[in-house]
């Protein structure tokens, strides 16, 4: 069935199709419509779930942790400051190995206060032990939430499905909505192997003394690394049933490209347009899109980017005092590789600033120049910056 739906509506619909048992959420722009929609589903009896109107995002994820620990399928959604407030619990949900799915409508972080899109919020919690998927369009948001529960429950890991605030959250697109019966076949009911149950008491979240703590963390790391294969397997199975596949990465006209763009999220669509135009003129350019950011597809990126002469990373985040997180990660992926492309980082679209075709072209041209000359003088650049204001010469 095809419906025209916004990113927020499909996030709510994804949770409904996954038959979540408990929803605990707190409203925040631009995620709010997810909470509203889920409240409507529950109010109308379309979704048989406990809807907890908690008093903060910290409590939202804490409540999901409690619900998940007794074996319920739990869902929350947030953005930006909300994600920051629940970040303590993200690390704990991962450490407790609870398969909660978190939808995050990407939004900039304060200060200054800004409600518009960038990806600083979820990039800031990349170390949490929570799987992170970045979506390019609303169909992918819906499909990823359904896939997320499979990955989460089979590995006992929380999964975050990220989609760009406003750009996706508030944009309506035609969506293929899968039948409930088909989703039910794909996603069986959740069964926690050791839930909190008086019949068989367990202690969950004990004090991890130095003699054991590292092993707990290493097992979490193993699960996160295993999530790569799991994401691929679940995606393949999803593809067979529903006809849509996404992979860990998307490689767009990249096979023979000398110059590549590396992106995540909705920006990829704009960048693909530019790639098409350059291709028409016979230029060997392409794009690689990161869908799974954690676990990080390092080997796959080396494979996908390794043949290029230069790579321009376009990203809506920055690890202040160094560079964008995606740039640092992809650079690290090449650390022991003999032939690595030159890497450049382009910070763009922060706080909802539009990333124009002109700006993407600027990045592509800079990378092409680097490919020609074989050198990168300055690795980190800002696109669309009014340089006079910040006291930078052009």
């Amino acid at each position: 069935m095809r419906q025209v739906l916004t990113g927020n509506e499909v996030a709510a619909l994804g949770a409904k199709l996954a038959r979540v048992n408990v929803i605990a959420a707190y409203p925040i722009t631009p995620q709010t419509a997810v909470v509203e929609k889920l409240a409507e589903f529950v109010a109308d009896g379309e979704l048989d779930a406990e809807f907890m109107k908690v008093e903060s995002e910290h409590s939202a994820l804490s409540a999901c942790i409690g619900a998940s620990a007794v074996g319920a399928r739990a869902f929350t959604a947030t953005s930006s400051q909300g994600l920051m407030l629940m970040s303590e619990m993200l690390f704990i949900a991962a450490g407790l190995r609870l398969p909660i799915v978190v939808a995050n409508a990407n939004r900039a972080l304060s200060a200054p206060l800004n409600i518009w899109c960038d990806q600083q919020d979820s990039f800031a919690v990349r170390d949490s032990g929570c799987v992170q998927i970045y979506c390019e369009d609303n169909q992918e948001v819906l499909d990823s939430i359904i896939q997320a529960y499979r990955v989460a429950e089979e590995l006992l890991l929380p999964v975050m499905v990220c989609y760009d605030g406003f750009i996706l959250s508030h944009t309506a697109e035609p969506i293929e909505v899968p039948e409930q019966a088909e989703v039910d076949k794909f996603l069986p009911p959740y069964e926690h192997p050791h839930p909190l149950d008086p019949e068989k008491p367990v202690t969950m979240g004990p004090m991890g003394v130095p003699e054991y703590y590292e092993e707990f963390r290493c097992m979490l790391q193993q699960a996160m690394c295993a999530a790569k294969e799991k994401l691929v397997g679940v995606d393949r199975e999803f593809g067979k049933r529903f006809g849509r596949r996404y992979g860990l990465l998307e490689q767009y006209r990249s096979d023979d490209a000398d110059v590549l763009l590396l992106t995540a999220g909705s920006l990829s669509s704009s960048a693909k347009e530019l790639i098409d135009r350059y291709r028409k003129r016979g230029e060997r350019v392409g794009l690689v899109k990161v869908r799974a950011y954690r676990p990080f597809p390092a080997e796959e990126l080396v494979e996908a980017l390794g043949h290029a002469k230069a790579v321009a990373v376009l990203e809506k985040d920055i690890s202040l005092g160094w560079a964008g997180a995606l740039f640092t990660d992809v650079s690290a992926a090449f650390v022991n590789v003999k032939k690595a492309p030159l890497m450049m980082d382009f910070i763009c679209g922060l706080g909802g600033r539009d990333v124009s075709q002109l700006q993407i072209r600027e990045a592509l041209r800079a990378a092409a120049r680097a490919a020609e000359t074989g050198e990168v003088r300055r690795p980190v650049h800002w696109l669309g910056l009014r340089e006079k204001i910040v006291g930078l010469g052009v």
Binding site: E50, P195, L196, P198, T203, M207, V209
Partner: protein, 294 residues
Amino acid sequence: MTAALPGIPEEELVAPGHRACAGCGCILAMRYVLKALGKNITVSMATGCMEVVTTPYPETSWRVPWIHSAFENAAATASGIAAGLKAMGREGVKSVAIAGDGGTADIGLQALSGMVERGDNVLFICYDNEAYQNTGIQRSGATPFGAWTTTTPIGKVKRGEDRPKKDIPAIIAAHGAPYVATASVAYPLDFIKKLQKAAAIEGPTYIHVHAPCTPGWRIENNKTIEVARLAVLTGAWVLYEIEDGKFKLTFKPPKRRPVADYLKLQGRFRHLTDEEIAEIQRMVDEQCKRVGIE
């Protein structure tokens, strides 16, 4: 010992071998909680003394399902458990949250307020040892006036805690919770009765149990019960319940003893001058007058 208390089950659901200090009033409170509530519960516990001493991996003292996730969210986690149990159609299992006074009165107050305001089916128990004892005796919102702690030291210009104890049961009662009660480890039958009453109520209930900390209060290991009892006998700690908004004393000290009797057993009050003790006595008198204790 348990046999001496009629109506209290002998079975220990808090296993021995935990790391609580000798004479710990809080671990005693935990034992009473589980004796009163039995096995059909889940416990969501805040970070704090009881969490730390009972679960050094790979050991645990809990013979009931137990979870610790963070410090400030025992209530929210317990609310999630209650919602999960309801969604899964699990009946007859009570979601219980347990936190110390810091995890209740300070960092955990928002989540607790949310839990009560939403009417979640959770019994929240605060074990009050009147400071952040787990981190080494720092004052909390529940530290009483005049007490020494490491963050309210006795110096040349400051003389211990300068604010009265935050009245958490009153705050919870103001939310309209169907049942709020205070208790003391020195009055186990009263405590157990209240626990059972609270657990039987569908909705948010709250019990605040006064529990001495031997190292934090600077008392002898064998004085825990004596000190806890003196708190009640002097009127420094009042035993009551508020059921559907109705306040009722559950124990009236026959002849109230001077608060100095309570204070003088504790090293944390050793610095107090006669004038300061008189000031505390005035505060206690006022509190007693308010609740109808002579």
